[in-house]
């Protein structure tokens, strides 16, 4: 049942990430403080399906435009995605946006609403105009082409939506701590924690990561508590000029035999990962000791627009196999044992730190 819980939680997180609405404070029964919330506008431009890919651009104030190209199966939650981030010009409030996505292309569009705006529900204890959702279309020029032409779209119109909240004063129990504006890199890496994380304790996981030629790569195979199969995910991050690009391949459930490890306490500790879905080849971890282990093989991730080997001299690795009866928090409580530079899957620190080893 835990796995089912994971599924529900994953869906909830995905919905939360997909939603373009602003963060609103939850209002408790005792409203002792007055909080002023500033107006906010977010938008989404949706293009028709381009080959196997769904292409959409999310706009966030003040000037973030994230182009997402993804191929997913909502039933299996399998996701292959590439996100390109840039700063747009124009005014989202006014509905005029111009954005350049480097070599991928550019857009210059204006929002044309159709029909009446849909009024949202005013939160309890708040005063001010209710939130408003405007459906319509973005008209102008959309010209985008993925690396190697893995997707290509040229259009003069695309469906879209703007969601607006207005200045409001709310009586709340606790004043929300102010969240600093999201950086462009953080916006592009929004799904990283979901893809490289776990909803329950992890019984066994192998992490491998490294950096070469300005591109950072992370791969994780894991067995989560209560799940009958392994999850397999990989991320590649790079800057194309000033544009951050994050590619993700995520398989929450894999066929039997995808990820096998030795048992807790067994020496030498070994693990093997077999490619499936967007992954091909195999990789093997052999750990003679904490100070000596290796990650070899030809495991490769096929991201949208990029084929990336996940092994090699610049890729470091760490294996964790624990018993939840010994450590109830599982591998989450065990720091990775990189045999090289420290690599963190954190949102802002996905870079290789230090240079030892």
């Amino acid at each position: 049942m835990k796995a089912r819980g994971c599924l529900v939680a994953a869906l909830a997180v995905l919905i939360a990430l997909a939603g373009a609405s602003g963060a609103l404070a939850r209002v408790g029964p005792h409203r002792r403080h007055v909080e002023v919330r500033h107006p906010e506008t977010v938008g989404q431009l949706r293009l028709t399906k381009v080959g196997p890919y769904n292409v959409a651009i999310n706009f966030e104030q003040p000037d973030l435009a994230i182009l997402g190209v993804n191929k997913g199966n909502p039933k299996t939650l399998t996701t292959d995605q590439t996100a390109y981030g840039t700063h747009f010009h124009g005014s989202l409030v006014g509905g005029t946006v111009r954005a350049r996505f480097g070599r991928v292309g550019s857009i210059a569009v204006r929002f044309v609403p159709s029909g009446k705006p849909r009024l949202g529900r005013q939160e309890k204890g708040c005063e001010g105009p209710p939130p408003r959702t405007e459906e319509g279309s973005f008209v102008g020029v959309v010209s985008l082409r993925g690396e190697g032409g893995y997707f290509k779209v040229s259009a003069h119109s695309a469906t879209g939506r703007l969601e607006r909240t207005f200045r409001e004063t709310c009586r709340v129990r606790h004043v929300e701590t102010k969240v600093p504006p999201v950086s462009l890199r953080a916006a592009v890496q929004a799904t990283r924690r979901l893809v490289l994380g776990s909803f329950t304790s992890t019984l066994a996981s192998v992490l491998a990561g490294g950096s070469e030629g300005g591109r950072e790569v992370l791969v994780r195979a894991a067995h989560d508590e209560g799940s009958p199969s392994a999850s397999l995910s990989a991320i590649a991050f790079e800057y194309q000029g000033k544009m951050p690009v994050e590619r993700t391949a995520w398989l929450p459930s894999t066929p039997a035999g995808t990820f096998v490890t030795t048992l807790p306490g067994e020496h030498p500790a070994t693990a093997a990962v077999k490619g499936t879905g967007p992954f091909t080849g195999e990789a093997e971890y052999v750990g003679a000791s904490r100070l000596s282990h290796e990650w070899t093989g030809d495991l490769t991730a096929h991201f949208p627009g990029l084929v990336q080997p996940l092994t090699g001299p610049h890729v470091y690795s760490s294996l964790c196999v624990v018993s939840t009866l010994v450590d109830p928090n599982g591998c989450e409580a065990v720091p990775p044992d990189w045999q090289g530079p420290e690599i963190s899957p954190g949102t802002e620190s996905g870079k290789v730190q230090g240079a030892e080893g």
Binding site: S229, T261, T262, L263, G265, L325
Partner: protein, 349 residues
């Protein structure tokens, strides 16, 4: 509401009962604890405390206890809602047969158990009605207890004839209790066996149609129990035979060697169980290279009158716990359901 336990007291005991002796209070506690256990799922107790408050409805029951063949004891009762129950106790086992009995009429005990027999007895009171104290956990007016005899005809033969009895007249009692308000604290509920005394627990259960089988094995700490009683094994089986609900239980205690931790200190979830009779064979809980768990072996239990019932295999969902930490294996059916949720039914695993 489960039927009351049928306990017949000899005359010597009856003389002490009105004063609320320790055994009487314990018996009352047991009756109300059974009611509390039944009521627990329906009570919205605050998360911070396990204290439970509830009310028991007014009611009455007629009961008797007799010695049956092959060293078994037979307790039978019928409450004033017409629920009849006969319980066979002995040789580390406990088997109950329950059903809606015959028409309710002033302390009659009548039930047709089909091939297992028939009860058709009426209660004949003898002596004075006595008051029954409520014990320390419940408040309300005192109950009433009337000694007497059950007369008529009764015959009972359990499966395979492992025990049988024929009755025409048997000492019995009729007891009525008013509506009671009871309160249990966490301490009183766990007084007899605190969870902290348990070092490790294995629980396995499987359901097939209306049949539910389960195993519980508890390894106690050294300070909690002597070496020869360090491990407790209990097996349960619930089933329905037409309108008769049958529950069976086998309980034995064994030495620590019957519960071995085969995985070593880094993997204590790997265990092997070898229980003494009426159990046979052994079962192992093992971790695979894919960090899933398997529960296999030939462990079985022989309930009186039945063929050995397997207690290990893929159809069992199993958990091995040390305190609040558990390693869990779902049943194959549940794993299949979860697999289909993630991967669709067509996926071969």
């Amino acid at each position: 509401m489960r039927p009351r336990r049928a306990i017949y007291r000899p005359r010597a005991m009856r003389a002490r009962r009105a004063t609320g002796t320790r055994s009487e209070i314990r018996r009352r506690f047991t009756l109300v604890a059974v009611a509390a256990a039944s009521a627990l799922p329906f009570l919205a107790a605050p998360a911070s405390s396990m204290a439970v408050s509830f009310s028991t409805p007014a009611g009455g029951s007629t009961y008797a206890r007799v010695h049956a063949s092959n060293g078994y004891r037979l307790n039978f009762s019928e409450n004033d809602r017409g629920y009849f129950s006969v319980r066979v106790v002995g040789h580390d086992t406990d088997t109950s047969f329950g059903l809606r009995g015959g028409p309710v009429a002033g302390g009659r005990v009548s039930a047709n158990l089909g091939k297992r027999g028939r009860f058709d007895l009426r209660f004949v009171p003898q002596g004075r009605v006595e008051k029954v104290p409520n014990g320390g956990f419940c408040s309300g007016p005192a109950g009433r207890w009337q000694a007497g005899y059950l007369v008529g005809r009764a015959r009972f033969r359990a499966e395979g004839g492992f025990t049988q009895v024929r009755l025409h007249k048997v000492p019995a009692a009729h007891e009525t209790s008013p509506k009671l308000h009871c309160h249990f604290s966490e301490a009183s509920l766990e007084a007899e066996e605190h969870k902290k005394l348990r070092r490790m627990e294995v629980r396995a259960s499987a359901r097939k149609g209306h049949t539910h089988e389960s195993l519980e094995a508890i390894l106690f700490y050294r300070h909690a129990r002597p070496a020869r009683r360090r491990v407790r094994f209990r097996a349960f089986r619930k089933e329905a035979d037409g309108r008769i609900a049958i529950t069976r239980e086998a309980k034995v205690e064994a030495r620590e060697s019957s519960f071995s931790l085969t995985g070593g200190p880094k993997m204590p979830e790997e265990v092997e169980l070898k229980a003494p009779a009426p159990f046979a064979g052994s079962a192992t809980f093992t971790r695979t290279a894919e960090s899933t768990f398997e529960w296999g072996g030939d462990l079985s239990v022989t309930f009186p009158g039945l063929a050995p019932v397997p207690l290990a295999g893929p159809s069992f969902s199993t958990s091995v716990c040390a305190g609040k930490r558990c390693a869990t294996k779902s049943s194959k059916a549940l794993e299949k359901l979860v697999g289909e949720l993630f991967s669709g039914p067509a996926r071969a695993r």
